[in-house]
């Protein structure tokens, strides 16, 4: 699945970029509108506060506008925008220190390879269909599960699996190594799998189209 708006094709985007670079500022919002939700999600992953994330998303857009002439066509515009957002959010977190301290595990940021993560054992796994995402409470539960991850896992997971940056771009945006991205991504995915399974036990997906009484595994 691609995250870009289907109607927003690459040629139109290139055209918009050129026009904005040449001074057609009023086209800037049209250029960035398809990415506004991704920009917000990236800021939220780092700041964990909706108001701060929204402010940062707006500031990142203004920053992108101010620097649009520095954008080079060989890069993906969406990636460039997300990288600016991540940078703004990290700066805000350092400067304002408004994000509460997280768990001990997060501060003990020594090696990602120290502890192996053993996933929960199930007899089988039946897929949770993407149609479930039509329900707001399901999306909310998934977002809550994500929010419980330690910062270093959450940031990598959001950039890689929700923003669809590649491994290298994720590493560059967060200033960590490719190996760290891979290790953290693995851990994040396995932990989320276990959290979804726990969610079943708590009835998150109770109205999904499975046979009555059946769990998905």
């Amino acid at each position: 699945m691609t995250l870009t708006n289907p109607t927003h094709d690459a040629a139109r985007e290139q055209d918009l970029i050129l026009q904005v670079q040449r001074g057609q500022s009023e086209l800037f919002y049209e250029l960035v509108r398809p990415y506004e939700r991704r920009v917000y999600a990236a800021a939220l992953a780092i700041l964990r506060n909706e108001q701060d994330a929204e402010d940062t998303a707006q500031e990142a857009m203004l920053k992108a506008f101010a620097n649009i002439r520095q954008f080079r066509a060989e890069a993906r515009f969406s990636t460039w925008l997300i990288q600016i957002t991540v940078n703004q959010a990290l700066m805000r977190r350092r400067r304002e220190r408004t994000v509460p301290m997280e768990g001990l595990d997060n501060r003990r940021d020594v090696s990602d390879n120290e502890n192996e993560y053993a996933p929960r054992d199930f007899a089988d796994w039946r897929e949770i269909p993407s149609e479930a995402l039509e329900r707001k409470e399901v999306r909310q539960r998934l977002a809550e599960a994500l929010a419980t991850l330690d910062r270093k896992y959450r940031e990598v997971f959001v950039l890689r699996d929700m923003e669809h940056l590649n491994i290298q771009e994720t590493a560059e945006a967060l200033g960590i190594t490719v190996a760290s991205v891979k290790t953290r991504l693995l851990r994040a995915r396995l932990m989320l799998r276990d959290l979804l399974a726990a969610g079943w036990e708590q009835g998150w997906f109770s109205r999904l189209p499975f046979e009555k009484g059946n769990k998905p595994w």
Binding site: A57, F122, A123, S130, I167, L192, L196
Partner: protein, 218 residues
């Protein structure tokens, strides 16, 4: 779990790379074989794939109500401001005045040396101009106010008309630094500050420089 040449722990370690296509052909083949015979690992693979599929869906990117409208308004405010600055700068000037203005600026520049602020009018006659403030520092101003602030400062008046710009632009419009959030850039703030707080100011400046480099790199 079944006996297999490949241990389950090895599979768990590589399952994420497997999904991303980041394993070589030999490893993929061994893992495929393992998944066929080990139910637990097959469940780990299926569940992890399910996670990637669900969270990767665009519907997971929720924004708060009114987000788009507020973003558009803020961008519009910025664009309106930019065009107003352009208009006031150029509309009443004839082309032949440009070289004259350039000469005047060069002469003025020699006198101004390090101080960025003295050649701007200031909105508050009683306020102190900024001292050694990084010109690219991102600040926030609002219409009708006199001060500029770091984003998020609790002393910003009239948040509805808030605009973001650089410190240099804010000073060019006559704004002066907030005595609370930008105290380290006031001469009085410098003398009254602890060494740590002054160092903090330096750190922020450093971050801004890093950020500029990072943006410029793309």
């Amino acid at each position: 779990m079944v006996e297999n040449t490949f241990r389950c722990e090895q599979v768990w370690r590589e399952v994420s790379n497997y999904i991303d296509g980041e394993v070589d052909a030999a490893l993929r083949s061994s893992m495929d074989e393992h998944f066929r015979t080990c139910k637990r690992c097959a469940s780990v693979l299926a569940g992890t794939r399910n996670v990637v599929q669900l969270y990767g869906d665009e519907r997971m990117l929720d924004v708060p109500a009114g987000f788009s409208r507020r973003l558009e308004k803020r961008l519009e405010n910025r664009l309106t401001h930019d065009s107003a600055v352009k208009g006031s700068r150029w509309s009443s000037w004839s082309a032949w005045l440009v070289p004259v203005a350039a000469m005047a600026l060069i002469a003025g520049g020699l006198l101004l040396t390090n101080n960025l602020t003295h050649w701007h009018f200031v909105r508050s006659q009683h306020a102190e101009p900024a001292y050694k403030i990084p010109p690219d520092l991102v600040v926030v101003v609002s219409d009708g106010a006199k001060l500029f602030h770091v984003p998020g400062c609790p002393f910003i008046h009239d948040k509805a008309s808030e605009r973001t710009m650089t410190a240099k632009e804010a000073m060019q419009e006559g704004y002066v630094p907030c005595t609370r959030c930008l105290r380290q850039y006031l001469k009085t703030g410098m003398s009254g500050h602890s060494a740590t707080e002054v160092a903090e100011g330096g750190r922020v400046e450093e971050e801004e420089r890093e950020e500029t480099l990072s943006v410029a790199g793309h």
